[in-house]
Symmetry: C2
Subunit: 301 residues, 2 copies
């Protein structure tokens, strides 16, 4: 146990390894228009917490799998997350000029190239999944299940469906069940994917996969409610110059429906139920996943 790195060190190590792998995930020499490669690489390398790749790696390692075996799928989920951000930022969607302090993809490369760079990243993610078999010997059946999970959880039934519901929510009403639908799918489903993909690489049983689905669903929802809370805390600091127009544009959040105190309680209770589900699954070593759950809930940004 004395050799076990602290969680902080583990986090930095995995994040660095993922970023390095992402740097090389697009072939150096391929016969592709330079602007397209540049646009794909720009957003892939624009920073971010690399949370989803971390979950793939931690889940695979919880079953004793090698980190290298998990890396192509870790890169794949980051490509899918990145494409979704590029398309979300488009003028027809959220129309954002900046993300994480850098110009958004369409501001740098133009709208058409940004759409196509997103399309190409999504498509290349599936290539990267197959490479986990070609390069690291992950079994064909596990890989096909990972492809199937990705297409369900990132597609109409998953992330894209959540994004459509979010857009429609902005145009009118929302009730708590619709907000839950948005949180579960827009953010949650890719978190669930990351966990069960890592587990499949590690050779998880059906029962363990089911437990990780519950862990991911509860963790993802807690993560989003925490985001809602942090958004509001930030807003309060700016309260002095809040205008009527700000109030009209106020985003519908968890605290809006159930109040701040109940939202804070909900984050705690979901995190606990996530951790309980994980304990029941009896993984060979769940410790890093449990640490990640605590880390996500204690963050202040």
């Amino acid at each position: 146990m004395s050799n076990r790195p602290s969680f902080q060190v583990y986090l930095e190590e995995v994040t660095a390894a993922v970023t390095e792998a992402l740097k090389h995930t697009l072939p150096d020499h391929w016969d592709v228009p330079q602007s397209l490669t540049d646009a794909m690489q720009y957003s892939l390398m624009a920073g971010g917490k690399r949370l989803r790749p971390l979950l793939v790696v931690a889940a695979a390692e919880a079953f004793g799998a090698q980190r290298t075996a998990a890396m192509p799928v870790a890169c794949a989920v980051e490509m899918v997350h990145t494409y979704s951000l590029i398309h979300d930022d488009l003028p027809a969607m959220d129309n954002d000029d900046y993300r994480r302090g850098k110009l958004t993809n369409h501001k740098v490369y133009g709208e058409a190239t940004a759409i196509l760079a997103g399309d190409a990243l999504l498509t290349h993610a599936f290539y990267s999944i197959v490479q986990a078999g070609r390069r690291s010997g992950v079994a064909a059946d596990a890989l096909l299940s990972i492809v199937e999970d990705m297409s369900e959880l990132a597609g109409a039934r998953g992330m894209v469906g959540g994004q459509v519901a979010d857009m429609e929510g902005e145009q009118g009403m929302t009730d708590l069940s619709q907000l839950q639908y948005i949180h579960l799918h827009k953010t949650g489903d890719l978190i669930v994917f990351s966990l069960i993909a890592g587990a499949r690489i590690g050779g998880a049983s059906e029962g363990q996969l089911e437990a990780l689905r519950v862990f991911g669903r509860d963790l993802g929802l807690a993560f989003q409610i925490q985001d809602d809370i942090l958004d509001l805390t930030g807003d309060e600091q700016k309260m002095g110059k809040k205008t009527q127009s700000d109030v009209n544009q106020q985003k519908v959040t968890y605290p809006y429906f159930i109040g701040m105190e109940a939202s804070v309680d909900e984050v705690k209770s979901l995190t606990q139920s996530a951790k309980d589900a994980l304990e029941r699954a009896e993984l060979p070593d769940a410790s890093r996943l449990l640490e990640i759950a605590d880390y996500l809930m204690s963050r202040d940004h």
Copy 2:
């Protein structure tokens, strides 16, 4: 041989079967915003020749595979083709209001939903590929190769790269080698995919796959040059009211670079080399594929 349906009957039969399968490729009851399902279904059902699914089916059947085994992949390639048309038609790209006489997706559902419907169709295509294993027992290794081919031939190295080159070509120069790059990738690569995916379902050898790649590449290029020729023939009929602005906007085509006569010869010679490659591959029954080659070259629209 007396029971063998004519090519016309075969074409109608396969097209009807593909259209029926596409009707049911999105689950009837899934928890997805209605507008998203509607937008996906609208473009999937908006007609079209179903050429790519036909090639999947014909290639699989050339090796003696059942048509039903090829159908999920046939649907997948049509989903990818459909998503590419939805995104091509967007205001930021070609800005088209009509396609095949019907309003384009973004004109009916709005730009944001159209982008997301395209994303969802691309994502669902990979789901559909996996279903060829779940429902029809296609081997896992063949399916993984089909996923890999799809992600290469529809992605940055393939169709999306061709689309970017086409956009950039419209903004300035083009030389024949760039036009070839556009034709080979924007249209050709999905035709190559269809053929080798069908062949993989039928259990083709590496040598046969290679021959089908050549067949597909030459056939796809001939198909596009034929399109260029037909475009120009159409233009000539309108010559009387051609304005200087029309001339400035004239699309760079094969006849523009090598002349009309040489273009017609090129179509013939590519079709012949495609058919030669196919003959060399010694498929159990290449007759429908050869008929398709002749059919594509003799079409007048």
